[in-house]
């Protein structure tokens, strides 16, 4: 009988228990991943996928119902093809979600690392400031920031990004406090490593997992935030298509042409659902208790 190679067996076990393998086994996470990939592809390949120019008006074709030949989801109040606008709208949603996550994540992680690593007065000042920001309901904080910054794509990203900062700072700080107390960090420090070396080579790589999990969940929240700001008229301004501003204009024609609000809202729901399913899956895959 062939001897079982113990190393190979351990390797296989490790592979089967890897986060990626656990993620692949989770059916709902895979569904989420498919939705996320589809949304990202839709955003990237919008010019190829959209049947019409999203801003091309045709006054003779206003408020066409869904299923009209050539306009599968109908048209809006300016005769613009709704499907094309929703496809192009995905670009704004994905861009804002990714941008805001990057802005919030970068600033939050830096602040969290400084607070957790230095502790003392710097920690107190940073974290009390984060607590103060946390005291503002998320939507309200984004609204306030938008009134300060003014409208525009970059400002939407900055506003949502800044509103995201406290969440990342708290997670990063908590993780740094744990990691820097670990024996390997103490050993590196006692060997005379600089703070810079310790932070970049030992602390950051070891705090990334929970931050990545949080970022994935945060993407869904950022999509909703962008849609909310645009719906309130503070975010992306027409004629640029965003799911939120399509829904805002659809609200005015809810009685006569409900398809505008219905389909744009469904696009938001589906995208957020996808990111939430994927985020849940990533969280479970990285959770040691799930092994």
């Amino acid at each position: 009988m062939e001897m079982i190679d113990e190393n190979k067996l351990m390797q296989l076990e490790r592979k089967a228990n890897s986060p990626w393998a656990r993620l692949k086994r989770n059916k709902t996470a895979v569904i989420g991943m498919v939705i996320v990939i589809a949304a990202v592809c839709m955003a990237i390949f919008a010019p190829l996928l959209a049947p019409y120019d999203p801003n091309a008006m045709d006054i003779s074709k206003t408020f066409l119902k869904p299923g009209t030949p050539g306009h599968i989801l109908g048209t809006d109040e300016f005769g613009r093809d709704l499907l094309s606008r929703i496809i192009y709208g995905s670009r704004i949603s994905i861009l804002v979600a990714a941008g805001a996550t990057l802005v919030g994540g970068t600033i939050g992680i830096i602040l969290g690392i400084i607070a957790g690593y230095k502790e003392g007065i710097l920690d107190t000042v940073i974290m009390r400031f984060m607590d103060g920001m946390f005291a503002f309901p998320f939507v309200l904080l984004s609204i306030v920031l938008m009134t300060v910054l003014g409208q525009g794509l970059e400002n939407v990203i900055i506003a949502i990004g800044i509103a995201n900062v406290p969440g990342y700072a708290r997670i990063a700080r908590g993780q740094v406090l744990v990691v820097k107390g670990e024996e390997y960090c103490q050993a590196v420090k006692s060997l005379g490593a600089s703070d810079f070396h310790l932070i970049f080579n030992h602390i950051i790589p070891n705090i990334l997992s929970p931050v990545i999990v949080y970022a994935t969940m945060n993407l869904a929240g950022s999509i909703i935030s962008e849609a909310t700001l645009s719906f309130l008229g503070l975010g992306i301004q027409p004629p640029t298509a965003s799911w939120g501003n399509i829904l805002r204009s659809g609200r005015d024609y809810l009685l006569t042409s409900p398809h505008i609000a219905t389909y744009s809202g469904l696009a938001i729901l589906l995208a957020v659902l996808g990111f939430n399913l994927f985020g849940d899956g990533i969280r479970d895959a990285f959770d040691p208790k799930m092994k």
């Binding site: 709902t28 974290m127 009390r128 400031f129 607590d131 103060g132 920001m133 005291a135 503002f136 309901p137 998320f138 939507v139 309200l140 609204i143 306030v144 009134t147 300060v148 003014g150 708290r170 997670i171 700080r173 908590g174 406090l177 744990v178 869904a220 909703i224 849609a227 909310t228 719906f231 309130l232 008229g233 503070l234 829904l247 659809g250 609200r251 809810l254 009685l255 409900p258 609000a261 219905t262 744009s264 809202g265 938001i268 729901l269 957020v272 659902l273 939430n276 399913l277």
Partner: protein, 323 residues
């Protein structure tokens, strides 16, 4: 317990200070001179200057901040540029309406979410469990403003069952107010109900696998006693945490729900103030909502300590670590 409450009260003071600091600087950063905005484009230079003196805008920034803090401590949240009335008065007029909506939504969310979570946990992998958890997942992903519009479309426009806007009037009887309350409160309750169902299920699943639950069953206790008295009671702490988060988040949700259903509360007032560029009202309301948010979180923390006595004896630094 009193010691814990006092400690938490002291702990929120820096947070409240930072909230006031942020609101103060935001007011100063917003483009446009508040005095000019308040008096309109026709106002003379002298009148604007007089108003600047009245508002304390000619003072140095640190002195302005001291005046601002003094005003807040005396319950003065500023003046609305549009209505030319104290923000406090406008808040007192609208805030009770938001409380009615938020309370109705919270009660509804608790009544729906928690039993669903408990039943799902006790009937894990059943059809009920699958269906309700899929619905809960859709619920937490729901853009609340879209849900509101769809509810208006279905129940007001198509079926004509319920009114879509306003708050109704007590002069027409309590039923009129209740009818007006149904759609906005169901809309606002959707996300919290979904969250409660998910957290209750997950917390209950952790508990019902414990040995003491098996022991309770082995002792021959009725299943309902095992579930509600032994398991649910011990599953409560994480549920209370989420209830607290959602209670505070209801204020965010109310901003959108009130806008869609024209519910005359704080949320609609803030959105209207933004549209009218009434920054005085925006800042005052924002500060007030943030204060309510902090106080709500404090109450939840205290409630949490009542349910889970271990919290009372945990050092502040230990709690902050995990954040």
């Amino acid at each position: 317990m009193l010691k814990y409450i006092l400690k938490r009260l002291v702990e929120i003071l820096p947070t409240l200070f930072v909230v006031a600091l942020i609101t103060f600087f935001v007011t100063r950063i917003i483009p446009g001179d508040p005095a000019s905005v308040m008096l309109g484009p026709q106002a003379s230079v002298e009148a604007v200057e007089k108003m600047r003196v009245k508002l304390g805008l000619n003072e140095s920034i640190p002195k302005q901040f001291l005046i601002y803090m003094n005003d807040i401590l005396h319950g003065n949240f500023g003046t609305s540029f549009y209505y030319n009335e104290p923000v406090t008065l406008l808040i007192l007029e609208r805030f009770p309406n938001t409380v009615i909506l938020a309370a109705a939504s919270m009660i509804l969310a608790l009544l729906v979410g928690i039993p669903i979570g408990v039943i799902s946990a006790t009937k894990q992998y059943s059809i009920f469990d699958y269906v309700t958890m899929v619905l809960a997942l859709i619920g937490v992903s729901m853009p609340i403003f879209w849900l509101g519009l769809m509810m208006v479309l279905t129940f007001s426009v198509n079926l004509g069952w319920l009114p879509s806007t306003g708050m109704g009037s007590m002069s027409k009887g309590i039923m009129d107010v209740i009818k007006h309350l149904i759609l906005p409160s169901v809309c606002l309750a959707t996300i919290p109900a979904a969250m409660f169902a998910r957290i209750t299920r997950s917390s209950m699943l952790d508990i019902i696998r414990q040995d003491y639950i098996k022991t309770a069953r082995a002792k021959g206790l009725r299943e309902s006693v095992v579930i509600w008295k032994h398991a649910f009671k011990n599953a409560l702490p994480p549920i209370i945490t989420v209830v607290g988060i959602e209670l505070a988040s209801l204020l965010s949700g109310a901003i959108l729900t009130e806008t869609i259903f024209s519910w005359p509360g704080m949320g609609k007032m803030v959105v209207d103030a933004i549209e009218k560029r009434d920054y005085g009202l925006v800042q005052g309301s924002v500060l007030f909502i943030a204060l309510i948010y902090v106080i709500t979180n404090l109450i939840v923390d205290i409630l949490y300590a009542v349910v889970n006595p271990r919290i009372r004896y945990t050092k502040t630094s230990e709690r902050g670590g995990g954040a």
